[in-house]
Each structure stands twice: as structure tokens, then as C-alpha cells.
């Protein structure tokens, strides 16, 4: 018996030593020492690509693409999707792992600042040469570190069926009879307020979907809506090529168009499906569902929201009734204002993974945007308006919102650039959002919101 015990314990000790030795090996295999293993890794042709996806709404499509790509080329693509609002968090912990993401995305110049130690120079890639407008890329000096892969637009999405119903309504008190006439804030306001008064006759709960101000659900206001007044403010600054570079150079802002923000924000929260005091519990999904179910006539969002509208069960909105309206806020000359068009999605390749992985990742992206299979996915399933010249005119997404954006870009209007790429930090946006929630709930006056915006810009830029 004793002998058996001894043998057993010897075995255990040996297995422990073995485990310890193995884990030790794995421990030293961090990115700093992978150079030594490069030869060995290069010999393997099948490098696994790890793509950390930013857009949860199209996560399933990426899974399909990964499967197809593997079937076609034998290269395995691992797609991980960060939950809404947690991309930076996820990226930070994923990139420290030994199996780090090989493809990730940055949100523009500010995001590049945070990740510049990890972004590979993509100047010599074919992907960069395919860009139809190379000035869109994130660059520093000679290097190209972020390549935009989608052009998006946002504005006020409206349900034309409800609008037609309103224009035909006997009890309406405005003289406006078609959406063509709504081309500034005053007409929008009169229509919206009259619609709200007639909400019951129109069969809606409120004109606007709820203004989601729950934690992590505020980006439509503290980023997208905030872009409108700040775009005008930066445009007023002389001596810059465009509003975004003016914004990047601004150490302080005045929030001089703050009242315009208040105009439209008040309109949103006071003519909505719920009372302003209840907004702290609302999510973006809630608002999109309200719109899809026909409980509201308008909602501020971008073309990426098409899936969310389309996939709500019990959806009553017809594709041909979905239209875009620019976000009017009472700025002089806004009759010529178009939708807000731009991008905050830039591909970056991890510079700290092995060369073979980097090349495999670039090859995957090039496949996605040049091969017929890849392009079909991009236009039909991902619904991207891709900014690459490999796409022909007939290879544009067919969903109603993307078509609307292309139509608006053709019109005689000026698109609002996405200047929020110049916002100093996530913290700035979140302080802005928090202040908006306090304002909506009636706990704080508008002056407080303005001062939070101005102060927080200054302190965050100084960091």
C-alpha cells in the first residue's frame, strides 16, 4: 500500500512539474519574444486572423463572411464583437493577450492617438490604394494608420406614411402639406408640435422615439447631435482646411451654437413617446423598436439602423416609407444643410503581431473589398457604402436608408462633416451625456449643460 502511495505521489509531482514547465513556456511566449519564433510561424501558411468587430448589429454577417473566407482560402478568421459601448474596454484587454486582435478599428485621429503604438503603417497596402478619397484615411507624417471602410450618414429618420396621414388630417393647424416644405427648424417645429397635439388621430404615441439617455445609450446625443452645433462653430474658425482640423486644434470651445442644440433637443424630448423624466431608462433599441412598431414618426439615427428597424418583430414600417431629414436646429442658412455624412470606422492592423499575421489580415481585408464574394457581402449584408474604387455604381447597398443618403449627397445641399472625430475624449462625451440627462429630468438648467460642455472640453483637451 505504501509503495502504491509513493508511486502515486511521484506521478503527481511529476505531472505538476510538467504543468509548471508548460505554463512557463507559454508565459515567455509574449509579443516581445515572438521575433525568435518568426521563422517557425512563417512556415505555417495558415495564420489565424483575429478581427475585433465594433458593430454588434452586423456581428452575424461577419460570422458568415469568416466561414466563407475559410472555405475559400483555408485561413481561419476569428471574429469577436464588443458589446455596444465597450469597444475600447474590450480592445484594451484583448490586445494585451498573446492571441491579440490582428485587425481592430480606431475612431479617427483621437482614437489613433490612444493606439498609435499598435497601428501598422498601411501606406504600401493595396487597400489604401483602393480608397476613392485618400484624404479620408488617418495619417501622421508619411504614414497611413487607419483606413476608413464605410461611409455613413445620420439625420432624422421619418416614417413617410405617418407624415402623409398628418398632411391629410382635417384637424391640422399648419399650412405645410409635404415634407419638401420642411427645410428649416421653424417649419419642423411647427409640424412636430402640431403632430404631437394630434397624436391620437395619427395613431402614434409621440412624434419622436424616446431620447435614450440610459448609461451607454447616449451616443446619439452626446456625439451625433452634438456634432451639429460644433460643426458650425468650427466652420466659423478661419484658417483651417475643414471643420474637423479646426476642432482638433481647438483647446477651448465656446459652444456658440448651444442654443441651437437646445432647440432641437427640447423638440425631441418634449414631443416624444414618453415623458422627459423617464428617459434615463431608455435604450437605443427601445427607440428603434418604437419607430419600427409605428408608435413614433421620427427618430434620430443613421443608416446602420436599418437592420434594427427591419428586424423588429411586428414591424409596421414599410421600406419605401423610410426617409431621411437633415437635423435642423435653427442655424441661418440651414435650408442648404444636408445629412451628416462621414465615418468613424477605420481599420487598423496590429503592429505587434507577427508579420505573417499582419499580411494575412491585410489579405483578408483586400479580399473583402475586392473579390466578388466579399463585395456582395459588403453591399448586400453589411450594407456599407464602401469608400473604395473597387465598387461599381451598381454595387451600392439597396436598403432604404443607404439609398436615401446617396440621394441626399446628390442634392444641392452641403453635408455636415463628422467633426466629432475631433472631440477630445470619451469622457467629454459622457460628461455631456450626463448633463443632458440631468437637464431632461429637470434637475439642472440649460446653463449648466453649456458650462459642462465648455469646461469639460477644456479640461479633457488639456490632459
Amino acid at each position: 500500500m505504501k509503495k502504491v502511495n509513493r508511486v502515486l505521489s511521484m506521478l503527481l509531482v511529476m505531472s505538476l512539474v510538467f504543468i509548471a514547465a508548460c505554463s512557463n513556456n507559454a508565459g515567455t511566449n509574449d509579443p516581445a519574444t515572438t521575433d525568435n519564433n518568426k521563422g517557425a510561424e512563417g512556415a505555417k501558411s495558415n495564420e489565424t486572423i483575429y478581427y475585433l468587430n465594433f458593430k454588434p448589429e452586423i456581428a452575424e454577417v461577419y460570422e458568415k463572411i469568416a466561414k466563407d473566407y475559410e472555405a475559400e482560402t483555408g485561413v481561419k478568421v476569428k471574429v469577436v464583437t464588443a458589446a455596444a459601448g465597450t469597444y475600447e474596454t474590450t480592445l484594451k484587454s484583448e490586445i494585451a493577450k498573446s492571441e491579440a486582435p490582428t485587425i481592430f478599428q480606431i475612431n479617427g485621429p483621437v482614437g489613433y492617438e490612444a493606439w498609435k503604438d499598435y497601428t501598422l503603417d498601411l501606406k504600401d497596402t493595396k487597400l489604401y490604394s483602393y480608397l476613392s478619397d485618400q484624404s479620408l484615411a488617418v495619417t501622421e507624417g508619411e504614414g497611413v494608420y487607419g483606413i476608413p471602410y464605410v461611409v455613413e450618414g445620420y439625420g432624422i429618420i421619418y416614417n413617410n406614411a405617418i407624415m402623409e396621414k398628418y398632411f391629410a388630417l382635417g384637424t391640422k393647424s399648419t399650412a405645410i402639406s409635404s415634407m419638401e416644405e420642411v427645410n428649416n427648424f421653424d417649419t419642423l417645429k411647427s409640424v412636430v408640435e402640431d403632430m404631437q397635439a394630434n397624436a391620437e388621430a395619427l395613431g402614434i404615441k409621440g412624434v419622436f422615439s424616446s431620447t435614450s439617455l440610459g448609461a451607454g445609450e447616449q451616443w446619439r446625443w452626446q456625439t451625433h447631435l452634438a456634432n451639429i452645433p460644433l460643426f458650425y462653430e468650427f466652420n466659423d474658425i478661419q484658417g483651417f482646411d475643414n471643420a474637423t482640423s479646426a476642432g482638433l486644434a481647438a483647446n477651448e470651445i465656446k459652444f456658440s451654437y448651444g442654443n441651437n442644440f437646445k432647440n432641437i433637443f427640447d423638440l425631441y424630448i418634449n414631443n416624444s413617446t414618453v415623458k422627459p423624466t423617464l428617459l434615463g431608462s431608455k435604450t437605443v433599441a427601445d427607440s428603434m423598436a418604437e419607430f419600427a412598431l409605428g408608435q413614433s414618426a421620427m427618430v434620430q439615427n443613421g443608416n446602420w439602423a436599418w437592420n434594427q428597424i427591419n428586424e423588429v418583430s411586428g414591424n409596421t414600417v414599410k421600406a419605401e416609407d423610410i426617409k431621411f431629414l437633415p437635423i435642423y436646429s435653427g442655424v441661418t442658412g440651414e435650408e442648404k444643410q444636408g445629412l451628416a455624412v462621414g465615418t468613424e470606422n477605420y481599420f487598423a492592423i496590429n503592429s505587434k503581431v507577427s508579420e505573417a499575421k499582419q499580411q494575412a489580415s491585410i489579405a483578408f481585408l483586400e479580399w473583402l473589398f475586392t473579390s466578388d464574394t466579399g463585395k456582395a457581402y459588403v453591399t448586400n449584408d453589411l450594407g456599407f457604402i464602401a469608400p473604395f474604387n473597387t465598387f461599381n455604381d451598381d454595387e451600392k447597398p439597396a436598403d432604404p436608408l443607404a439609398k436615401e443618403i446617396l440621394a441626399w449627397m446628390e442634392k444641392d445641399t452641403t453635408s455636415v462633416a463628422w467633426t466629432f472625430a475631433a472631440f477630445p475624449s470619451e469622457d467629454f462625451k459622457n460628461s455631456f451625456g450626463d448633463a443632458l440627462l440631468q437637464y431632461a429630468q429637470g434637475n439642472e438648467a440649460w446653463d449648466k449643460v453649456s458650462s459642462v460642455v465648455v469646461d469639460s472640453w477644456k479640461s479633457e483637451r488639456a490632459k
Partner: protein, 280 residues
């Protein structure tokens, strides 16, 4: 036998020691080191000295979170222990269905914090909707929401510990006291309380450290809304680490201070309550 244990000490202790070193000691030392550095990911860091600590203390969100956490801990520790003890007293009496009640009271403890947070958020908002407000309207709602949630979750667990303590009180002493004519109050004060002191030590330790370190419930219930006014320390550390670029080191510095605070508080508490324990 003694010899046998000595001989195989390494064999029996090693697995635990290795696990403890890998999962605790190494990250802990790394964490302390990182609190003196500026870093984006944990593998590359540059030394900045005490800079992070200075930044942490000049951060008013951190001080605000500290104050909120302190208030929360005091209120919830008192309430949890009072209720848990009362329920334990009740359920050690010969009442019909004590076992069923014990099980039911214990069950909330088996549900994860995030899930609990969202469930209670629905409940609270459901009630508050009737008054046209939500949890985010006033930090006080969030505060009491967290207190209620924490009570609901921890009372059952503490109750079990108290029940074990109360059941250990010798029947002879209780009987003798009754024969001497002691009232129920006197029996509770002079016999039961001193004898369950070990349970009180454990329960206070668990409820203080759990309340101080609360994270999941906080994140799910309010996420700090409105304006970070209901963010507790752990959530503030998380937000600093992940929410602000270039502030990872500051978050780490906050975490080290957080560890020291929790450590000091519970050691003081253990010393005080230990002294009151008497040999049974």
C-alpha cells in the same frame, strides 16, 4: 503521522500554492508596479513615480465615490446584520416550515450580481414609472436601490451564519437562565449575543468587505447615473481604467489605495470584534 505530513507537505500544498501565486500574488505585485507607471496594456509600461497617486487624489469623482461608498457601507452593514440576526432568531424558534423559509431566504444569494442588478432595475423603474421618474432622477433613489438590493442578496447568507451560531448556544445555559427568571431580552443580551460573537465577526467582515467592494450590482443597477453620483469606488476605478485614455495608471493607483483601505478597515473590525469573543 506528523512526520508523514511533513514529508508530503510540498505535494499537498503545491497545487494550491501554484494556483495562488499565478492567480493572486503575481497579478498583485504587477498591479502595484503598474500603479507607478503609465501604460496602455500591461505588457509595456513607463515609470512615472507618484504621479498617478497625485492625479487620483485630485480627481473629484474618486473622492465623491469614496464618500458614497462609505455611506453605503455603513447603512447596508447595519441593516443587513440587524435583519439577518432577527430572521435567524425567528427561524431558530420552533416555527412551522423553518427549513423552507431558510432555503427561500438563502436563495437570492445564488443569483449573480449583474442579473440581480438588472432585475431590481426593472422592479424599481416599474414602481417609479408610476410617479413619472426613474432611478436616475435622483442619486438618493440609486443609493436606496443599492441598499435594498444588497440587503435582499446578503441577508439570507448572513442569516445562515447566525443560525449556526445561535444553534451552538448550549441549551443548559438557556434553561438555567429561564429558571432564574431572566426575561427574553436579558437572555438575548447576556447569553445569546456574547455566544454568537464569532458569527458576528464573520458576518461583519463579509458584509463590510462585500459592500465596500460592490461592483456588479452597482454597474447593472445605475452605472453611476446621474452624473457619476452613484458610482462606488470599484466602478470609479473601472471607469478610470477603461474609460479614459492614458489614465490606466491612475486607475491602478486608485485600485492599490482601494486595497489598502479595505484591508485596514476589515483588520480594525476583526481586531475589535475578536476581542469581544469569549470561549464557549
Amino acid at each position: 503521522m506528523q512526520k508523514m505530513i511533513q514529508k508530503y507537505f510540498a505535494l499537498f500544498a503545491l497545487p494550491t500554492l501554484i494556483a495562488f501565486t499565478l492567480a493572486f500574488v503575481v497579478p498583485f505585485i504587477m498591479g502595484i508596479y503598474l500603479s507607478f507607471t503609465q501604460f496602455t496594456t500591461v505588457n509595456d509600461a513607463t515609470w512615472v513615480g507618484l504621479d498617478n497617486y497625485i492625479k487620483a487624489f485630485s480627481d473629484k469623482d474618486f473622492l465623491n465615490a469614496l464618500w458614497f461608498t462609505a455611506r453605503f457601507t455603513i447603512v447596508s452593514v447595519v441593516l443587513i446584520n440587524v435583519f439577518a440576526f432577527l430572521i435567524a432568531l425567528l427561524l431558530t424558534k420552533k416555527v412551522l416550515g423553518t427549513n423552507v423559509f431558510r432555503t427561500i431566504f438563502f436563495m437570492p444569494n445564488l443569483i449573480g450580481g449583474i442579473v440581480l442588478g438588472y432585475i431590481w432595475q426593472l422592479i424599481f423603474n416599474g414602481i417609479l414609472y408610476k410617479f413619472d421618474v426613474t432611478l436616475t432622477n435622483d442619486p438618493a433613489y440609486g443609493f436606496w436601490g443599492l441598499v435594498i438590493l444588497m440587503n435582499w442578496q446578503l441577508i439570507g447568507y448572513m442569516m445562515i451564519i447566525y443560525i449556526a451560531g445561535i444553534q451552538n448556544v448550549p441549551k443548559e445555559q438557556l434553561e438555567a437562565a429561564k429558571i432564574d427568571g431572566a426575561t427574553n431580552w436579558v437572555i438575548l443580551r447576556k447569553i445569546i449575543l456574547p455566544l454568537v460573537m464569532p458569527s458576528i465577526t464573520i458576518c461583519l467582515f463579509l458584509s463590510i468587505s462585500n459592500s465596500f467592494k460592490l461592483f456588479d450590482q452597482n454597474l447593472a443597477l445605475t452605472a453611476g447615473a446621474p452624473s457619476k453620483q452613484t458610482a462606488m469606488l470599484a466602478l470609479d476605478i473601472f471607469n478610470t481604467f477603461y474609460g479614459k485614455t492614458g489614465f490606466e495608471g491612475v486607475g491602478q493607483a486608485k485600485a492599490v489605495m482601494f486595497f489598502l483601505m479595505v484591508g485596514i478597515i476589515v483588520i480594525v473590525q476583526l481586531a475589535i470584534t475578536r476581542r469581544k469573543e469569549i470561549e464557549n
